[in-house]
């Protein structure tokens, strides 16, 4: 029967190695506490505190990165948390995204009842959940991270209480997110039954010992299938994408930017952890499923985006097609999962996530500016003639859209090239060709938006569009990064090449 525990010996904890995570959580708690005890802070200070916290966490992650590249990856807290470049890369990505989103949220929240520490604390909490997802070395820890991220996001999506759409977006996200979490949890339970552990390192060993039997384990395969359903929902892969357009459209624009960057990155990090690192022994079973998800996401995402009339919805469907590209990378990683030479799939996915996060936050920043001017309207008509009213914003928007389409000399080209090359490296030609075809279809969507921005004439009542400083800085920074990483990508590619040295 169950082992009796007489004395409890706590695990040894290397606190400094956990510092990025601690910084995020402590920042969130401090903001809530200080925000409750002090009178209203001056404008912009809440956002500044949030961005500072995220910046600190990001800087600490870079320090840890150096430590890992010197001393090799390891695990922390009795093997529950992995300490490797993979998790640190995602941590840095999440911190950068939080900083950018905090700058967007600042202007969005001014003058609303939500202007307080709560939204920023939730951004930090969600970020901490994402970091836990990326660095979990135990499926239960991963589940806790997933829920921390998701619960914070449900509230953020529904946070605009003056809008019916925001509430509707929140409840839709909550119901379908909870549905997906339940599938994910049930999958963990079944995999636990098959391997006797939820710890990823022990799971790999346990599977290594049983894999010679050549008997497919029904329990484990059912578990893997349920995990795939749960992860499919979280990364918004077709056919588990139904929530995405509604939630993206209804949620406040800064929150949408956050979902498309942080939530997507954390979900893909979790997917790589679960599939490539924990379950390489079932790679021949899950890889075809990923292949089909990638195919459907690529085609449905780009084709349905064409017929949308709302720019936020278009970007939502385009994010589904981007998820398809990322799945191409995951599929490529699946070919070499568990082998000594990990191939280029994982680093291609990481690079894609980094570049996509910045360009998608930039895109939603432009949507935020235009939507605010048009009184909450984010239909494509609101963008008509943007170039005549705000040429700089229109130019930046064009850069983001070209990057999303994957035009050379933008970061999007590097990202798409990376995953397609990874697929070709492992002879996955079919999906690589489909990815390129879908990129062409998706380009039509971006061209349609660009055409409206550059050729239309603005409506009669066109007052000058107000671009707050923080939002302007975000847009400019994201645009510069998108071009810079597109022209000089070497340093970023070198960084992502090392993320395949993961701990387990």
């Amino acid at each position: 029967m169950l082992a009796q525990v007489d004395t409890f010996v706590g695990p040894e904890v290397n606190w400094f190695a956990l510092s990025p995570l601690i910084a995020l959580v402590a920042g969130a708690l401090l903001m809530m506490l200080a925000g409750a005890l002090t009178p209203r802070w001056p404008n912009g200070l809440y956002a500044l505190a949030c961005a500072t916290t995220a910046g600190t966490a990001g800087a600490l992650a870079m320090v840890q990165w150096d430590d890992i590249t010197d001393n090799g990856p390891t695990t922390l807290v009795a093997g529950a948390v992995a300490f490797d470049t993979f998790s640190m890369f995602v941590t840095i990505l999440i911190c950068v995204s939080i900083i950018l989103v905090a700058m967007l949220a600042d202007d969005y929240l001014r003058g609303t009842p939500n202007d307080g520490p709560e939204i920023y604390a939730l951004l930090l909490t969600a970020g901490a959940g994402g970091v836990v997802m990326a660095s979990a070395n135990d499926l239960i820890v991963l589940f806790l991270g997933l829920e921390t991220l998701s619960l914070a996001l449900y509230v953020l999506a529904a946070s605009n209480r003056r809008s019916n759409r925001s509430g509707e977006s929140g409840i839709k996200y909550f119901v379908l997110g909870g549905f997906a979490s339940a599938f994910f949890l049930y999958g963990i339970a079944l995999v636990y039954g098959a391997t006797g552990t939820t710890n990823i390192s022990e799971m790999v060993v346990a599977l290594q010992n049983t894999v010679d039997l050549e008997t497919p384990d029904g329990l484990a395969l059912a578990g893997v299938a349920l995990l795939l359903v749960g992860l499919g929902f979280k990364v918004a892969a077709v056919p588990f994408h139904i929530w995405t357009p509604d939630v993206y459209q209804g949620a406040p624009s800064p929150v949408t930017a956050f979902m498309a960057s942080v939530a997507k990155a954390a979900a893909f990090a979790a997917m790589l952890r679960v599939l490539v690192i924990a379950l390489p022994f079932y790679r021949d079973d899950w890889r075809p499923v990923i292949w089909v998800l990638a195919l459907l996401s690529l085609l449905v995402g780009s084709v349905v985006a064409v017929v949308q009339t709302d720019v936020k919805r278009m970007l939502a469907y385009s994010s589904i097609s981007h998820a398809g590209f990322l799945l191409v990378g995951v599929e490529a990683a699946g070919h070499t999962a568990g082998e000594l030479d990990p191939g280029s799939g994982m680093s291609a996915v990481m690079l894609y996530l980094m570049l996509y996060s910045v360009m998608v936050i930039g895109s939603f920043a432009v949507v935020l500016v235009v939507q605010r001017h048009a009184g909450g309207d984010s239909s494509i008509e609101a963008f008509r003639g943007l170039s005549m009213r705000r040429p700089a914003i229109a130019t930046a928007f064009t850069v983001f859209l070209l990057a999303q389409a994957g035009v050379p000399f933008t970061s999007g080209f590097i990202a798409k090239f990376g995953v397609i090359q990874a697929a070709v490296d492992v002879d996955s030609y079919a999906i690589a060709v489909i990815a390129m075809v879908s990129a062409v279809i998706a380009a039509f969507v971006y061209l349609r938006i660009m055409l409206t921005v550059w050729t239309g004439t603005p409506a009669e009542n066109s007052e000058p569009i107000r671009v707050p400083l923080a939002v302007g800085v975000t847009i400019a920074g994201a645009a510069v990064f998108t071009l810079f990483a597109g022209i000089i990508p070497g340093w970023l590619i070198d960084a992502t090449d090392t993320v395949t040295q993961y701990a387990r």
Binding site: N164, R165, E168, I171, V175, F179, A182, L185, A189, L190
Partner: protein
């Protein structure tokens, strides 16, 4: 001592509960009932954890249940909060009424 019920029975019961939850979520239209279905699914996973932990003689599966209970409680808080916020604006709204966002 009562006769031991085989672990398979628990697993089948859990699978049944999970299916009821999943199916209920898809066909019911009341947000509160849908919410209860999610809880049912989580508890089915809990039952699976406990049954498997007993079968394996391993305590980790049982501790996992406590984590899940906490998560489920947190989900109740957030979920009910969102539902209350919506019901205040639109009393008696069902999932079909929440169709402003579509396309």
């Amino acid at each position: 001592m009562i006769a031991a019920i085989p672990a398979t029975s628990y697993l089948l019961l859990a699978a049944l509960l999970f299916s009821i939850g999943a199916f209920g979520l898809l066909i019911r239209r009341n947000p509160l009932i849908m919410f209860m279905c999610i809880e049912l699914m989580l508890n089915a996973a809990n039952l699976t954890f406990v049954a498997l932990a007993t079968e394996l003689g391993d305590i980790n599966g049982q501790t996992a249940v406590f984590f899940v209970l906490v998560v489920a409680a947190a989900e109740v808080v957030v979920g009910l909060g969102i539902i209350v916020a919506i019901m205040r604006r639109r009393p008696g709204a069902t999932a079909d009424d929440l169709a402003e966002l579509k396309g």
